[in-house]
Amino acid sequence: MNIIQVKNLVKKYKKADKNSVDNISFNVKEGSFFAFLGENGAGKTTTISILTTTLAKTSGDIIINKRNIDKYPAKIRKDIGIIAQKPSLDENLTGEENIRIHSALYGVYSFRPTYSLMSEDYKQKVEELIDLIDMKDFLHKKVKTYSGGMKRKLEIIRSLIHEPKILFLDEPTTGLDPVSRKSIWEYLNNLRKETNLTIFLTTHYLEEAEQADQVAIINHGKIILNDTPEGIKKTLLNDYVILTTKYIDKLKKELQDKKINIIEDLSKENSVALDINKSWTVQKYIKMIDTEISDVSIIKPTLEEAYLKLLS
């Protein structure tokens, strides 16, 4: 089932002369991990703001969890959790107070002015969530004292308190150190395994998108590719093989004589790179070449290489 359906979405800001989002359509399957990839200003945040009902669209149809966004914005807001690009925590309040306010805003637990007056259910839930991110000691400390990674984690558990069906993450790990990024992703991946949560991620870190079930690449407001990471790589780049040898000149000459193309950009001092495709397999190359080869390695291009090729 598609939990998000977007059809012909257009957004033109009042003061802009061009469409920021220009007639895009895509679907996201329930329980899947969808990555929205693009450069700054490509239209990622605009799209996410429209999907999360904080920004009015110019035209197009959007259905989220079987509900039309124009008719049921409040119900949709209840079904989604949002991690915005900039942290939306109140730094002058404690982590727990931030969570408590959130749970009152979403009508999950009745609001009481102190933690001890809150219901037992609430306390249990908070302790359970805070344990998951290993921040028990910080629960009652001001958010100001947290590190960047801790703030993000707190935001993530806060957004889960109302048990959303879809979690929107707008560049959640921008500006975080690699260790924090890794631990946030470990947590999110575990979460996906345990629940049927749909994750909608915008990012410009390609290795994050690499783990997605589906990647849509947006550029100048248009979706230019929408496929699995594997599919995108296949469309844009072939695998290639690197042959290493002590006799590089001899090998190059042999290849030239046999009319085999070398990928110059990827070749090095003592190795050559050759394209792999249906008609040119590794076996075929090996059979054809007589020069002594010391090493053969098959390289699968990363999403990053594919992406850079696409944008260049």
Partner: protein
């Protein structure tokens, strides 16, 4: 409905906690009122002959002005919050926009209320005494004025887009009112070019309401100082609250989505 009340209390709680947890802000916010009362009121008192105590006259004006301004300024912080994406959290929650604004007004209203009580305490230091009846009358007036301050804040936000803009514009909306509303000076008789703006600004009715209440036991002074009967002040304030809030809420909700 329960959900909305829940949300309103949470939003109000946030502002109240932030105020209570920050004693330096509380003290700093008392500096200007004290300067106005003691320096401005005191120097007038020493140099100008009036049939009433001029420092106390200023004190009553400053009481109304401080409450009104504190709440209006607190509401303005909504725009700053919005930019820092703090209130993103509020705006994406499944609650009505009106609830956010009501919560904000209650929270900041509380701050204004405490501020008002502290000005009353400062009054004790300059020789003002209160009867039990005074307190009973002042409390509902303070509450009414906090609501007007909140409504006025909403009105201003609906005009300005970003916080830089609003911080420039806010003094223009507030300082002229100090003088037009007669916080420091009597404004019963004014030339026409001052009379019209003076009777249009909300603070005029706030200050007049407080003076009506404060001087109610000395009719000869009251007659000399106040502009309108108390019921007119209350009526105009209530009408302004309704108009400002309705317009402000509609304009803000619309602007929030139609960018």
């Amino acid at each position: 409905m329960t959900n909305q009340i829940n949300a309103i209390s949470a939003i109000a709680y946030r502002d109240i906690t932030k105020y209570i947890k920050n004693p330096s802000r509380v003290l700093i916010s008392l500096i200007f009122p004290v300067i106005f009362i003691v320096v401005l009121g005191g120097s007038f008192k020493a140099n100008v002959q009036t049939p009433y105590d001029f420092m106390i006259f200023t004190f009553v004006g400053v009481l109304g002005q401080t409450i009104f301004q504190t709440v209006a300024q607190g509401i303005i912080s909504l725009v700053q919050d919005r930019e820092q994406d703090l209130t993103q959290e509020f705006f994406v929650a499944p609650i009505a926009r009106v609830s956010i604004l009501i919560g904000k007004i209650i929270g900041e209203g509380f701050v204004g209320f405490i501020q008002g009580l502290m000005i009353l305490l400062i009054g004790l230091l300059i020789g003002v005494t209160y009867s039990f009846m005074d307190i009973l009358i002042f409390i509902p007036i303070i509450i009414l004025v906090t609501i007007l301050g909140g409504a006025f804040g909403l009105l201003i936000i609906s005009f300005a887009d970003d916080s830089q803009n609003i911080n420039r514009v806010f003094p223009l909306f507030i300082f002229p009112q100090f003088f037009l509303a007669g916080v420091f000076t009597p404004i019963k008789d004014l030339p026409l070019y001052l009379l019209i703006p003076s009777r249009l600004v909300p603070l005029t009715y706030v200050v007049d309401l407080f003076r009506n209440a404060f001087y109610r036991n000395t009719p000869e002074v009251k007659e000399f100082i106040t502009i309108f009967p108390i019921w007119i002040d209350v009526l105009i304030i209530v009408v302004m609250i309704i108009v400002f809030m309705t317009y402000g809420t509609l304009a803000i909700s619309k602007k929030e989505r139609d960018r």
